[in-house]
């Protein structure tokens, strides 16, 4: 199968795939850091921007990716996966997304490696940049900090989607055919999130969302460790990971065109030999300018072991003054008539630059651009949008106040009143239910939290169909009373159906009716006698 591919092409292709994989990981992890990313365009190529895109290399991430790849490339059955998960401050974690870079067997022999494949990989990276902002985890990651953090894990091999819960969605970022197979990049993301938005819960402070389906032990304990999607100001970290040592690996920056009559881009062997070396292993290019290895200043990160990132206010992209020009067609040549088109000509623009590259990531203290658009954006409710109308899938697990241990223990007869330990000892106690038997140390601060933990033990996936609120018996709270021989419940039941009033029962009623009718004439006579008194009385009222 490889006989059609020249060895140079094969080497190039392998290199492209390797760096594509590394850049993919960088894009994904950087998109989950919780900050806005900004890189500069540069009109002159520096020789170190792979795929002609300015994507920074965080050394730790590169290191992890290389460790996972271990010198291999994605191939059939061996996919590179980046798993994004969320970890709460209580230590619970949940997988949010799995990004997969896969290779299948469908080859495209005709395609030109060093031009078409390269450009398509570049396009695929751009698509990845766009798609990473569109899945629900993006909004979650922008709000990470005190209550939860976002972690990433890279592994190589079989894709494991089971941790995403039921009904996860898949979005395909794109595919690129190559002579050795088709590269596919896709993302599977969880939609089974139940998150509070301020729209729904205005008064309760967010504990953290009520998350279903995630209190599972990590099924793959032997796999690679999780890493936070933030850069810790760790002294040891910075030293361990070398800066981009790929000074030997130069990305392709030179292309060539053939005479216009043919209009086909070919890179022939002749070009390879005569033109300046495009991709060689021995060419050393000084890596400069783009600050791949940046020693961050102290970030003021919170508790160091959790590595909570601080939300950076590195807001850029200020609102420009509206002096815009429609620069549509080029200046030379005939200008096609276009409606609503203003005068042409470029304007000496004051390019609003990003912060110096060194500072973009880590300048927590100095939001460089003046206008900060972050104040308004995302200031509203914490809502994770997803392309598929997430609101309808939100449902809250609440546990009724009078429910004992849910589901499993419904059939137990001895449901008792809450706080029974304060009641006289002639009642039986449920040992394990925190509702009934509040432990000495107040570890369950709220009923919700208690029920969450008990939910967790009952497994992950199928908990949704059970009733949350089951009233077994009417056991009113706080009703045990030593004074009365009976409790409120019994009292209520007994006197719920009092006997009928005698006057309202039918036979007695009938009798009295008859009597009433008979006595009417007498009563009328009496009243007529006293008419004058009645009239006087009425007068006083008026």
């Amino acid at each position: 199968m490889d006989t059609d591919l020249s060895s140079q092409d094969r080497k190039d292709l392998d290199k492209f795939i390797k760096f594509f994989a590394l850049k993919t990981v960088q894009v994904i992890v950087q998109a989950r850091l919780g900050e806005k990313i900004c890189t500069r365009s540069s009109s002159s190529p520096t020789g170190s921007d792979w795929f002609n895109l300015a994507i920074k290399d965080i050394p730790e991430v590169t290191h992890e990716a290389k460790k996972a790849l271990a010198g291999q490339l994605p191939a059939v059955g061996r996919s590179m996966c980046v798993e994004i998960s969320l970890k709460t401050s209580e230590g619970d974690s949940m997988e949010l997304e799995i990004w997969c870079l896969e290779m299948n067997e469908k080859c495209d022999k005709e395609i030109k490696v060093s031009y078409t494949v390269y450009n398509r990989l570049s396009l695929l990276l751009k698509s990845l940049l766009a798609i990473t902002r569109v899945t629900p985890a993006y909004r979650l990651s922008r709000k990470q900090g005190h209550e939860y953090v976002i972690l990433y894990r890279i592994y190589f091999g079989e894709v494991q989607l089971s941790g995403l819960g039921e009904g996860f969605q898949t979005v395909r970022v794109g595919t690129v055919g190559t002579p050795v197979g088709t590269i596919t990049l896709s993302c599977a993301y969880r939609i089974n999130l139940a998150f509070m938005s301020t729209r729904q819960f205005e008064r309760t402070p967010p504990i953290m969302g009520i998350i279903i389906d995630h209190f599972v032990d990590r099924p793959y304990p032997s796999s690679s460790p999780m890493h936070p999607c933030n850069y810790r100001a760790g002294e040891d970290n910075a030293a361990v990971y070398p800066s981009v040592e790929d000074s030997q690996e130069v990305c392709t920056t030179s292309f060539s065109t053939s005479p216009p009559s043919q209009c086909v881009f070919t890179v022939t062997k002749a070009h390879f030999q005569t033109s300046p070396p495009m991709v060689t292993d021995t060419l050393k290019v000084p890596v400069m300018g783009l600050a791949f290895s940046h020693q961050p200043a102290a970030l003021g990160v919170g508790s160091a072991d959790m590595g909570y990132p601080v939300l950076f206010a590195g807001g850029l992209n200020a609102a420009h003054p509206h002096q815009v020009l429609l620069i549509g067609p080029g200046k030379e040549g005939g200008v096609p008539p276009v409606p609503n088109q203003p005068a042409h000509g470029t304007q000496a623009d004051q390019e609003r630059m990003c912060t110096p590259l060194d500072g973009v990531y880590y300048s927590a203290a100095t939001p460089s651009s003046s206008e900060d658009t972050e104040t308004v954006s995302n200031s509203s409710e914490g809502k994770c949008g997803s392309p598929h109308d997430l609101l309808e899938t939100i449902f809250i697990r609440k546990v009724g106040a009078f429910v004992n241990k849910p589901i499993n223990q419904v059939t137990m007869a001895n449901l008792d009143i809450p706080f029974a330990m304060f009641a006289p000892k002639n009642v039986e106690l449920e040992d394990n239910d925190p509702m009934v038997n509040p432990p000495e140390s107040p570890e369950t601060e709220s009923p919700l939290q208690g029920s969450l933990h008990s939910e967790g033990s009952s497994g992950s996936s199928t908990g949704n169909t059970h009733d949350d609120f089951v009233m077994i018996d009417f056991k009113p709270a706080f009703s045990k009373d030593d004074i009365l021989p009976m409790d409120l419940g019994t009292f209520y039941r007994e006197f719920q159906n009092p006997p009928q009033l005698s006057s309202l029962s039918i036979d007695i009623g009938a009798q009295s009716m008859a009597e009433d009718l008979d006595s009417l004439p007498e009563k009328l006579a009496v009243h007529e006698k006293n008419v004058k008194e009645f009239d006087a009385f009425v007068e006083t009222l008026q």
């Binding site: 900004c38 890189t39 500069r40 365009s41 540069s42 009109s43 002159s44 190529p45 921007d49 002609n52 895109l53 300015a54 398509r120 396009l123 751009k126 698509s127 766009a130 798609i131 902002r133 569109v134 922008r142 395909r172 690129v176 729209r199 030179s254 292309f255 060539s256 065109t257 053939s258 005479p259 216009p260 209009c263 086909v264 005569t274 033109s275 807001g315 992209n317 509206h322 815009v324 020009l325 429609l326 549509g328 067609p329 080029g330 040549g333 096609p336 276009v338 609503n340 088109q341 470029t346 623009d349 990003c354 308004v376 954006s377 995302n378 509203s380 409710e381 809502k383 949008g385 997803s386």
Partner: protein, 235 residues
Amino acid sequence: MVGTGRRCCGPSGATPAMNCRAEVLEVSVEGRQVEEAMLAVLHTILLHRSTGKFHYKKEGTYSIGTVGTQDVDCDFIDFAYVRVSSEELDRALRKAVGEFKDALRGSGSDGMGQISLEFYQKKKSRWPFSDECIPWELWTIKVNVVNLANEQERQICREKVGEKLCEKIINIVEVMNRHEYLPKMPTQSEVDNVFDTSLKDVQPYLYKISYQITDSLGTSVTTTMRRLIKDTLAL
């Protein structure tokens, strides 16, 4: 609702072999969301249709500059997108979108309109004929402006429009991923027929933006007809 209508629009008098693929997207937004929604879609398309600046060297080789990107948060929509780091390009788009928004708001408009982004190639003709513009990709975004009564509806609209835009981005990426016709990489003399080389830092394909507002005459006819039919049925 998304229509990915793929009709082949005939180019303006050029060779019939050339096909222009057309994609249509539809959004319903509130008045103040129009600008951001349009910018999000246009920037996403242009992100995929821009390269770094070409630098031609001897022997017909060229090198390509680097394209930077940046995140943009929307103020009126729960949404964020990525755009090319080029202030000139951003200004150009904002100007066009601003005009579109003003036209939508203006009199004679029913709140419906569409903005089109067309990528084209120039074909030089001999004198006295002027150069032809041959479109090869046309994106049309249909906009329907809704008016909302209270703050709660606006809040819901923020989120809904955010979700819709997520869908649009996925649709755009899907189209881009088909790897269909792209103009061939030009030689140095031809580069201005394919790319817009006027920007300092990036080089998008030649594009033009135009818009149409559905005039009130058109829509009022529709509403009159609707009323007539309703009245007839009510009887």
